[in-house]
């Protein structure tokens, strides 16, 4: 039985890693199409990808978008998490479910809804639309991580600080905040990844002139099949894995992702 389980687990692991490994290896192809394994190896598609304005512009857009959305969503999530954990009011459970709603509404519906609503309000600015959508999709992860961090450190510590003469606000600043800081930072890192990688929620919101990197890749592969996309992808994988390692070290990935 142990053997069988190990075999199944190995198959699952191979399945999960297969497309990722293939992309990374194929990115070093020399030919005009990605090969696995490459017949001849080269870094030229990396040079090509970095020289492609469609990618670099989109990468900058995605990076800015991720940073702005995360910085906007974090204070919102902090306030909401505090209210949920430390407040006593009817319907807390329902409210918590509502705060996580953006996770469960199909992203394509969110994207469309923001498109039509902003059009109705006369907002034509691509950046504004995208920031709105990305705040929405990053926010639930932040709320969840911060709630998890807050519930782990119980009120007792803050109360102890208060009996030692600390004003509630100082108790919070000196005791609670340092304790949840790793959780908040991990949540922010994950939010950055979520925003940077997201496709569906941006689907209807970009324009010909302002694109995000995942959508630029999607557009590119519709007409081209050269390995420059593999090169870009490999760089994305490296960034994601680095962030994942940091999060795992700080608080554990599972607490951030939920489940």
């Amino acid at each position: 039985m142990r053997r069988l389980l190990q075999v199944v687990a190995a198959l699952v692991a191979a399945f999960v890693l297969a497309p990722i490994v293939v992309v990374v290896v194929a990115s070093f192809s020399d030919g005009a199409v990605p090969q696995f394994p490459p017949r001849t190896w080269s870094l030229r598609w990396y040079a090509h990808a970095i020289g492609e304005a469609a990618f670099t512009d989109a990468a900058w857009n995605s990076a800015w978008l991720a940073v702005i959305a995360t910085l906007l969503a974090t204070p919102l999530a902090l306030a909401a998490a505090f209210a949920i954990v430390r407040g006593r009011f009817p319907g807390r459970q329902a409210l918590q479910a509502f705060l996580l709603a953006p996770l469960f509404v199909p992203a394509i519906v969110i994207s469309l809804a923001i498109l039509v609503a902003m059009a109705r309000l006369g907002v034509r600015d691509v950046g504004l639309r995208l920031v709105g959508a990305h705040v929405l999709v990053t926010f639930p992860y932040l709320v969840r991580t911060i709630i998890a961090s807050l519930t782990r450190f119980d009120l007792g510590l803050e109360e102890a600080a208060r009996t030692l003469g600390a004003h509630p606000l100082r108790g919070f600043l000196l005791v609670t905040l340092p304790l949840i800081r790793p959780g908040v930072i991990a949540g922010m890192l994950f939010a950055l990844i979520v925003s940077f990688d997201n496709v569906s929620v941006s689907l209807f919101l970009t324009s010909a002139r302002t694109n995000t990197l995942p959508l630029a890749i999607l557009n590119y592969v519709e007409y081209n099949f050269d390995p420059s996309v593999a090169a870009i992808s490999t760089m994305l994988v490296a960034v994601s894995l680095a962030a994942a390692l940091l999060i795992e070290r700080a608080v554990g990935l599972r607490r951030v992702v939920g489940g």
């Binding site: 696995f36 469960f104 109705r120 995942p214 994942a244 489940g259």
Partner: protein, 282 residues
């Protein structure tokens, strides 16, 4: 404890954002679904239920919904089996392996779906690694069609959703006290009976939770069917895209989106109920 006014003050901005960016826009989008198509490409007409009538009256659209549900169910079943096995493996493996295994199984979630979809194309495409290898070995004479069909969609979807399944089942397994398995052993249960009578029943809530989440995610997926599915609308989401972008039929597209949203939310509510019931038992 926070006072009522303080609590409200902290919640107000969040609620405002969610209402302005989610509730009202989605409501506004759905309101299109009860309007007739106007004369111009993006103009709207009078109140009508015809869009829903068309959706539920035309077997083409019903079949597309049915297909989406079927492929999502298939994906969910495969993910449940594979995910449960993997979660069980993680649960049994030592502390030292937990971190690496977690990153491994969560990698589809951490890496952009554009990257993994592209990876499947490179691996499974007409001239992809698998077809090349099989041809080189002389096992096939013509390339196998591994993507741009339903097989491709299911492969891609299972890959996307498996992290969620593993996380749910693992969480349930970790709530099981190790001493229960030992107790069963002292009572005379062989290892497989410990698994069957004790571990699996206790992990079931996790499997159930994972199943609902995964089904909901599969249903709402866009990139996977768009990249790995066959040509033309092959999934509800790709049809919505087609209706809005190619056909400019916003009212009908909104009706399809509304039904998709309703299905997803119904599943989530079911899931919350399930969690609440399990919570009450524990």
């Amino acid at each position: 404890m926070l006072s009522r006014p303080a609590t409200f003050a902290m919640l107000a901005p969040v609620l405002l954002v969610l209402i302005l960016l989610l509730v009202l826009p989605v409501g506004y989008l759905i309101s299109f679904s009860v309007l007739a198509r106007g004369t111009g490409p993006q103009t709207l007409g009078a109140f009508t239920m015809a869009n829903y009538g068309r959706l539920f009256g035309d077997t083409y659209y019903l079949a597309l919904f049915g297909r989406t549900l079927w492929l999502s169910a298939l994906t969910t079943a495969i993910a449940a089996l594979a995910g449960t096995c993997f979660a069980w493996f993680m649960w049994q493996s030592g502390r030292r392996w937990r971190g690496p295994l977690t990153i491994l199984i969560l990698s589809p979630l951490l890496i952009s779906i554009v990257v993994t979809s592209y990876g499947w194309v490179v691996l499974l495409g007409r001239n992809g690694a698998i077809n090349t290898a099989l041809e080189a070995l002389g096992l096939i004479s013509a390339p196998l069609r591994l993507i741009h069909n339903d097989f491709g969609i299911v492969v891609g979807l299972v890959h996307v959703v498996i992290p969620f399944m593993v996380l749910c089942v693992l969480a349930a397994l970790e709530r099981i006290e190790a001493v229960l398995g030992e107790a069963a052993m002292t009572l005379g249960a062989q290892p497989w009976r410990v698994l069957w009578h004790v571990i699996l029943p206790l992990a079931m809530p996790g499997v159930a939770a994972g199943t609902t989440i995964v089904f909901c995610l599969s249903l709402s997926a866009y990139v996977t069917p768009a990249v790995l599915g066959g040509s033309g609308p092959n999934f509800v989401t790709t049809m919505i895209y087609d209706l809005f972008i190619t056909q400019y039929d916003w009212p009908f597209g909104a009706a399809v989106a509304a039904v998709l949203l309703a299905t997803a939310l119904a599943i989530v509510i079911l899931y919350q109920r399930l969690l609440a019931r399990l919570g009450a038992e524990a």
